[in-house]
Amino acid sequence: MKTSADLFEEIESAVVRFAGDSGDGMQTIGERFTDSSAFAGNDIATLPDYPAEIRAPAGTLAGVSGFQLQFGNRRILTPGDQPDALVAMNPAALKANIADLPEGGMLVINVDSFKKMNLSKAGYSSNPLEDIDFRKKYHLIELDLTSLTKEALSDTALKPSEKVRCKNFFALGFMYFVYGRPLEPTLKFFKEKWAKCMPQLAEANSIVLKAGYHLGDTMETARNRYQISKAPVKSGLYRKISGNEAMVYGLVAAASRAKRNLLYAGYPITPASPILEGLSVLKKHGVKTLQAEDEISAMGMALGASFAGDLAVVATSGPGMCLKSEFIGLASITELPVVIVDVQRGGPSTGLPTKTEQSDLLQSLYSRHGDCPLPVIAAHSPSDCFDCALEAVRLALTYMTPVILLSDLYIANGSEPWKIPNVCEIPEIENSFADTEEEFVVYRRNPETLARKQAIPGQIGLEHRIGGLEKDEDGEVSYDPENHEKMTQLRASKINGISKSLPSINLEGPCHGDLLVIGWGGTYGAICSAIKNMREEGFSISSLHLRHLNPFPKDLEKVMNGFDKIIVPELNLGQLSTVLQSTFSKKVISYSKIQGKPFKVSELKEEFLKHLP
């Protein structure tokens, strides 16, 4: 028998997908695999994928939950187009995912769940594992996970049902073997999570994990083993971070750099709830979190807190954005700073609440009645949420305005390694506070930014009133026609003027060519990967990714003019295309995907090719 080390095949990157029932713990093992890979020094990107129901009936297609990750020794920008290895815990998971596994891909199956009832629940009339063609098509590994797990735990005092529930870690251990992942981070996790309250469980899972690993070592079928060396990243301290986590940290960091207290008001909604939850544990950092009765109220609470001097933030998803629009209009006319995070999901209406989409851009720009422009920015990856939170706060406080920050389900739930910033190096954020020594005129403007100054209740002598009626510079209600025109123009100029403060565009590729790809938001990784590939293949293609969607960077038009064609790939019916065309009266090609899923790199390449000479 050869030693397993002999069998290591050095590869650049791999894509693994775990799939099982909602109750099977697929998200948990996905997260563990990610941590372990990060620990091993790989770059990673993840894609959790679960149903809208909490726990749909066991064994059905509706109940399948999945987690895919890509890890590698180079910059990993997406969770991968298709898995190299698929772990399927039951027939439904197999059925829902097998179409994505390429021929020859590794397929790990929990065979004990391939019983008649489960097969029929999944809609299989016969057992695919008995189909010879099927068996030949993949690199099939059949594990009797239930029995194996029970066996491994025969010496422990757990109840049989509890034992069975550990089987996800058996599968994980097995995959650790296949990809040569370290066990330490996961063993540490068990300890931290359960050692105190449920030491038996910590123990049992450790046993099972190791048993899975050792099985790989001894099993004949596990002939492939892969080795992926460290990714060549800048030196420094790293951690894994999801988009929602990065948002939480970015907001806390921004409050600290602006020297304001952070007050967050929210109402639970998928996929934004983790921001509320993440902030609610940060009382030690002085963060106040309020769970409001609805999104209207959350927005009102934030506005009140902003009036009273806090850094006020709300986060929600599409349906909640609808409810906030009237208050956003009030924030705009009273010129109060507030950050509104929209973690987009599939729409319209309740739509696809647990799938990703980029379809709230036009809403962000135009949901209010009246002329009511405001800054809109979008994060493009999990860790970018941190930077965008800082930028949103900068815009809000510098320009005294509500700011909409778009995230989406894909980056909110996905994760990647993040180089931890040094707090002292994060720039301070300036406030536009009134001076008690000077005369305070409510809507007198900073000539540079056109921002008004803010006086805070409690400050002596700065008493004043604000509200939703049109007003003159003094803050007095005014129905004067010319004043209304002036104020409307001023508010618009203030927002447009933000473009002066934006850095120039960072093009991927040269500034002239056949095709320019313009992207925004969570499609960044896929677009970048596609462009890099195609440039290597010699195509004249460049790309740029917009963080600022209103106003656009000042050099955007010039950059666009350098290319023969412009294509805009979006996970919606063409919303950025619409805005680009209206802004520049220039035709762009819109490429849409509206499937609740991110772009595949291959899809993008195929589409781009169509528009290249």
Binding site: D35, A38, F39, G41, P185, K230, S235, G236, L237, Y238, R239, K240, Y249, V252, A253, S256, N261, L263, A265, L282, K283, H285, G286, K288, L290, A292, E293, D294, I296, S297, A298, G300, M301, L303, G304, A305, F307, A308, G309, D310, A312, E326, F327, L330, I420, P421, N422, V423, I456, P457, G458, Q459, I460, G461, E463, R465, I466, G467, G468, E476
Partner: protein, 342 residues
């Protein structure tokens, strides 16, 4: 928070008056309420810059423009949310919420409900004129059934909200009623509202001269008021009428009028007990309505000792910070970081 104290003791009504023209209709009850608030505030021992007045939309909600304090005229029905944000951001402020029967009980009913149950230390004055003033006279959720208005030419068909019962249903800790025609009683009630720690809900009966003139006349006019208003005083029995010759007593789980209190010596009359923690007593009072009963004025319910929302929040933060504030750098670093070396 940038707060410094002004000399509060020297404040007078004038300090609270703005130079703005007051733009209510001549004769509107809102003027009297404005006056009462402007007379109340200087006497509260609170520095002027600590007052914040938040309102929704409606005639009544124009209120902050006429007060020389910090003020926020927000959007229709949503003032409770804004007031909550202000108060949680800075619990030291004295926050007053001005709303109307439409603003507070039609579009804004839910926010008011949640404000009351959360028990923030905010004073809510609901100007009840039983009509939509600013939109020119449609019926409101407090209008009586059969009310003929612009939007209900054949009479309204929905049963009104009883603001007092609504507040009790939300387990408000301070529930009171006063009326625009009685300066003294308004000021007394507003002072009690500010003194109460927790949300104070005050229904102010207010006359809209244009669209609902004299709705409250049957109970508030000079002639009728002795028989139609019952002033609640803690620990005193519920009496009303000329020479307090009538009283209220319990009959099973309902109330009835005792026509002469002389013989009874008052002993069988209900004693006013605003601190009864069971809302059943205040509920009984809320059912005393014209024309069958005199309308109770004053404090229906006042429960002290329930911690406020903002205090609880501050407390949780203080508790978690008792060994020092969290380090931002540590937070960002987390527990599962790894070092990449060159």
């Amino acid at each position: 928070m940038i707060t410094t104290k002004t000399e509060e003791s020297n404040l007078t009504k004038k300090d609270f008056v703005t130079t703005n023209d007051v733009r209510w209709c001549p004769g509107c009850g809102d003027y009297a309420i404005l006056n009462a608030v402007q007379r109340t505030m200087p006497e509260l021992g609170i520095a002027k810059e600590k007052f914040v007045i938040v309102s929704g939309i409606g005639c009544s909600s124009r209120f902050p423009y006429y007060m020389n304090t910090y003020g926020f005229h927000t959007i229709h029905g949503r003032a409770p949310a804004v007031a909550t944000g202000v108060k949680v951001a800075n619990p030291e402020l004295s926050v007053w919420l001005i709303t109307g029967d439409g603003d507070g009980l039609s579009i804004g009913g839910n926010h008011l409900l949640h404000l009351l149950r959360r028990n923030l230390d905010i004073n809510v004055l609901l100007f009840n004129n039983q009509i939509y003033g600013l939109t020119k006279g449609q019926y409101s959720p407090t209008s009586e059934v059969g009310k003929k208005t612009k939007s209900t030419p054949s009479g309204s068909v929905d049963y009104p909200v009883n603001p007092i019962l609504f507040a009790l249903g939300a387990e408000a800790t301070f529930v009171a009623r006063t009326v625009d025609s009685d300066q003294k009683h308004m000021i007394e009630t507003f002072k009690a509202a500010q003194a109460h720690k927790g949300t104070s809900f005050v229904e102010v009966l207010q006359n809209c001269v244009i669209f609902n003139n004299k709705t409250f006349d049957p109970i508030t006019n000079r002639e009728n008021k002795v028989d139609q208003l019952l002033y609640l005083q803690e620990g005193k029995s519920l009496v009303f009428g000329q020479n307090s010759d009538k009283g209220i007593r319990l009959n099973g789980l309902d109330v009835e009028i005792v026509e002469s209190t002389k013989g009874t010596n008052g002993s069988e009359l209900l004693i006013h007990q605003p601190r009864n923690s069971n809302p059943a007593y205040a509920t009984l009072l809320s059912q005393m309505t014209y024309p069958n009963f005199p309308t109770p004025m004053g404090i229906f319910r006042q429960l002290e000792g329930k911690e406020t929302y903002e205090d609880s929040i501050v407390e949780q933060i203080e508790t978690s910070q008792k060994n020092g504030e969290g380090s931002l750098q540590e937070l960002l670093t987390g527990k599962n970081s790894w070092l990449v070396e060159d």
